[in-house]
Assembly symmetry: C2
Homo-oligomer: 155 residues x 2
């Protein structure tokens, strides 16, 4: 099958498939006479694996590691469970951070009902002072960029 059909079956775009090929996650397929990429069921299975991992928000680095084990990178699958445990840790960290954030935002939200002149808005004041309720000191360090789920470890 050609790239469009493969992508449709996997639920992603053709650009994404080409991107995975460039990144080395999908092997370069054969080509037709007209230079079209031609895929088989093996390619589809591999792409579906990748998309399933992405749906679980694994990074491409983590997926690369899993594929490496799958392709014969170890006798047992201890690396798989280790990676999965680490990734669950990533998700847990992110949930914990967002839950704390949500608390702060709720506290901030209570500081105004939305009909105040801008100069008196308790929300804007809260944001000027330090966010929600965890604000106390003066020159405290801002929270870093704990935004991305998966750090730099599975390489």
């Amino acid at each position: 099958m050609r790239i469009g059909e493969l992508a449709k079956k996997a639920g992603c775009g053709a650009d994404t498939v080409r991107y995975y090929e460039r990144e080395g996650l999908l092997p370069p397929p054969g080509r037709s006479e007209g230079n079209y990429r031609l895929y088989d069921a093996g390619h589809l299975a591999r792409l579906a694996f990748i998309r399933n991992c992405r749906a679980l928000e694994m990074s491409l680095g983590e997926i690369r590691t899993l594929l490496g084990v799958k392709d014969g990178g170890g006798a047992d699958c201890s690396g798989v469970t280790a990676l999965l445990d680490a990734h669950i840790g990533h998700v847990d960290e992110r949930i914990a951070r967002l839950a704390a954030l949500r608390e702060q935002l709720a506290g901030l939200r209570e500081r105004c009902c939305g009909v105040t002149p801008v100069a008196d808005c308790g929300i804007l004041q809260g944001l000027a002072e330090g966010g929600g309720e965890a604000a106390a000191g003066g020159g405290r360090k801002c929270l870093g960029d704990a935004g991305s789920l998966c750090g730099r470890e599975a390489g």
Copy 2:
């Protein structure tokens, strides 16, 4: 004060301050004879505001909107509460998605204890089939990119 001191007081890097200036969130400050940027307390307050918003994971677009209201873009602060409510919605959506993900990952994790030959690993099988337990049909659509907190609306 110069950019380094400002950045330190706000808990970010000098590059970040210059970036905010390029993005129009911070006004261009005065310059010294030697062409150094010179900031005052007003700049620091504005930068602290921005960093507090970022600590709550608002997007720069959302922050731009808030600053617009602050700079005199409305009679009352209803826009502020609306934006905050929307952002709380962003956080809630993300938390809900991650909680579901976490369930799926836990289900997947149970499928192997890590001492199996790679070919028999229940985790790898689960990832090939469809993720965790929400896998049933054949050619289902992959979950999209609900990764970023704040969509495209506050412009």
